[in-house]
Symmetry: C2
DNA sequence: GTTGGTACTGACAAAGTTGTCAGTGGAGGG
DNA sequence: CCCTCCACTGACAACTTTGTCAGTACCAAC
């Protein structure tokens, strides 16, 4: 029975990881932690990421309750994304992850595998 | 230029995530945080996981410096894995992740996406 | 009236991860 | 002798995630 990481697992670590897991989700959240942004701004601020992936990640993040989607309802469309109240509870966790990651990066840089 | 999450990325979040990312790594680390274990003990303690995946994850964790591999050198082989000094620095991060995951699990359980 | 911008979708290919299956070598039990 | 256990490997299939490409509807500028 192949188990996808995406389906809800009873393991809290997996549950948390399933929310931030996605090639660009960490980066998206990072950008958004400075304030709301439009889809196209976000896309331009992360040039290596394609629009397709941005939108897919954005939708998952909204579905998970981490982001809020504000649609002005105008034509041409203007959609802004911001971190929800619930999403802000994730930010300190991300900071902890980031702090460890910085140390790890130094470690692997100094004679690790890369 | 397709970018794998496995190669060293300059983003600290990605760097940290690349260490714990793997279908069973969180669980393995969790088990090991109670003390060293033999390969087969570990395998039996996580029945849904195959031996192949266990060994692959174990090797990556050892390569990343998170785990230590003690080989008794006997026949039949007896190999014990334990969390390294460096690996222990990861445990509090995992605990933070886990705490958030627990909250998230409650949230999705109570009317989330199911 | 063609082009460019906006946010987004669908189909599909490429790449990455996980699962399945068979096999290694030697000790011990029936 | 045959089978099981041990830690582990290799080949390969199945599945998941990412990337590429084309297209939607509408407005504004040229």
């Amino acid at each position: 029975m192949p188990v996808s990481k995406k389906e809800i697992s009873p393991c809290p670590i997996d549950a948390m990881l399933s929310v931030v897991d996605g090639r660009w989700k960490g980066t998206i959240l990072w950008r958004l932690s400075d304030g709301p942004m439009r889809t196209s701004e976000l896309r331009r601020s992360i040039p290596e990421m394609t629009e397709r992936m941005l939108i897919r990640h954005l939708q998952e993040l909204v579905r998970d309750g981490i982001l809020l989607r504000h649609d002005e309802g105008t034509v041409p469309p203007c959609v802004r994304y911001s971190i929800s109240k619930y999403g802000w509870t994730l930010v300190p966790v991300l900071e902890t992850i980031c702090a460890w990651g910085r140390v790890h990066l130094k470690r692997v840089g100094a004679g690790g595998r890369g």
